[in-house]
Subunit: 312 residues, 2 copies
Amino acid sequence: MKVLFAAGESRWPIWEAPLRAAIDEAGLEIDLVLDADPAEVEAMIYAPTNASAGTTNDDFAPYVNCRAVLSLWAGVEKIVGNQSLTQPLCRMVDPGLTQGMIDYVVGHAMRAHIGLDRVLATQDRWEVVVPPLASERPVAMLGLGALGAACGQALAGLGFPVLGWSRTAKDVPGITCHHGPEGLRRVLEQAQIVVLLLPSTPGTENTLNAETLSWLPKGAAIINPGRGPLIDDEALLAALETGQVGQATLDVFRIEPLPQDHPFWAHPNVTVTPHIAAETRPTSAARVVAENLRRLRDGEPLLHVVNRAEGY
Amino acid sequence: MKVLFAAGESRWPIWEAPLRAAIDEAGLEIDLVLDADPAEVEAMIYAPTNASAGTTNDDFAPYVNCRAVLSLWAGVEKIVGNQSLTQPLCRMVDPGLTQGMIDYVVGHAMRAHIGLDRVLATQDRWEVVVPPLASERPVAMLGLGALGAACGQALAGLGFPVLGWSRTAKDVPGITCHHGPEGLRRVLEQAQIVVLLLPSTPGTENTLNAETLSWLPKGAAIINPGRGPLIDDEALLAALETGQVGQATLDVFRIEPLPQDHPFWAHPNVTVTPHIAAETRPTSAARVVAENLRRLRDGEPLLHVVNRAEGY
C-alpha cells in the first residue's frame, strides 16, 4: 500500500522514524513516501502546512484512489471545509496527546486552585492563606469529546466537582453533564474554573462572550487549550478589566503565533502559552496512524472518522 | 461525658461550632469545656499551644480519668515523647486534611512537571517548549502513611510513575513500593520529583542529606509538606547551589515561622510556604473527633491510635 506523508517536509524528520517503527510493529507492508503520483496514493497522513488562519487550499481531487486522509492533528477545522476533500477523514486521537492535555489542564487548574501566582509573589514572607479544598471548587469542562472527558475525569479524580457541558447530551462517568444553551448557563453560574475543550465549529464560535462571561461567579479563571475562536477576545478583555474574570490562561488564538501587538501579551492577568497543550507526540500518534492503516488493509471500519456535517 | 478542649483558647472560636455540630450529628451527650477539674475529664481534644520546637511540657498526669487524648494534628512528635502522657493518644486523620494535602502536593508537583515557573517567566514571547509527559516523569513518594498513600495515588492517577518508599515494607495499589535503605536508593535514583510525607521520628531525621541527595537525577525537584527535620538544610542548600536539586518547595521547617535570616527565604530556587499544606479543616476534623468520642462511649477500639514506640 502506498501512503503519502502529506504533512510537510519540515515535519518528516520528526515523524519518519516513529511512523516506520509503528508500521513495522503493526506488521504492515507499506511504501511510505514524501512524494508520489496522486493516482497511486491509497492513504494520506496529513497536517496543514499553512500556519495562517482559514481553510487550507490543498487540492485533494487528484487523489482518486485515496481511501483515507489520516490527520496528525486533533483539530480538523482547517480541512473539514475543503471542498476538494471527498475522502474519509480521520482525526488524531492520540493517547500521548490526551496525556499532554491532561498535564496542561490539571497543571493550570491546580495553579488557579492553590493560588500559585500569589504564593510565588508572596513567598518572601510567612503569610498563611488557606485556599478552599478541591471539593469546594467547581470546575466547568466545556466540551466532552475524548480530550474534555479525559481532562474532566482527571480533575474529578482529584476531588473537584466537575460540571461538563456539550452542545448535545452526553454522559461521562464522574462528570455532572449538561447540554444546550440552558445547560451552559447552569454550568457557568457555578464554575470557578472554566476549561474550554470544544471543537471549533460555527456553532461553538464565541461560546464565551460578554453575556456568558457575565454568568460566571466573580473572579473565575479561564483556561483555553481548545481553539482560539471559542472566546470573544474583546469580551474577555473587558471581563478581565472589571475583575469578573480573575485570570485567563490561553494556549490558542485566532491568529497564531499571537501577534505582538495583541493586548493579551501585556495583560497582567493573562498567561499566553504557545499552542503547546495539544502538541501531538509522534511515538504514540504514529501507532494510531498504523492502526488505521491496518484497518484499511483489512477492510475494517476506521477509527475517529470525522462527521463532516458536524465539523468534527 | 466531660471533654476538655485543650488546644488553646485562641483556637476555641474556630473549633467550638464545628465540634458541637459534629457531636450533635453523632448523637452524643457531651459536656465540652475549655476548663475543668482534671480529675473529671474523660477525654481531651488536644493541640500544642506552644509553637516553638521540641516536646511540649504540658502535664497530663492530673488527668487520671482521661481515657483518650485526641490530637487535632496529624503530626504528634511534639507530644509523643511527653513522659506525663500515659493516656491513649490518637492522631488526626482528617479527610479534609488529606484533600488539602493532595491539593498542595499535586499543585506543586504539576508546577514542577509543566515547568510553570519558566512558563510564567517567558510568557511574553512565543517560545515552544514541550515538557515530557507525566508518564515520563517518575515521582518518589517518601512515606506511605495515610497522606503519602493518598497523594501518591492521586499522582499515579494523573499518569506519573510513582515510586513509594517507607522504612518498613508496605503495599499500596498504584504505587511501586520499596523500603529500607537499599529501597531508598533505588527510588531516589529514578525520581525527578521527590515528595516528603514521612513522620518526624529519630529514624527519619535527615532522610534527605548530602549522600541521598547525590543519588537523584540532576535537577530534581523537592517538595516537603511533611516535617522540617526530614531534610538536612545545609545539604539541600549545597545541592541547590550545584544544580543537583533544581527547585525546592518547602512548607515545613525545623523552626516555624522560618526565621527571617534563614537562607531559604532569599534563594531563587526555593519556595517557602507557611505550613499550609496540612492545615486541619475544622468541619471534617470535628467529625473524626466525634467518631472517636462515640467509640469511647460505646467501648469500641479508637481510630488512629499512636504507636508510642514507633513515634507515630
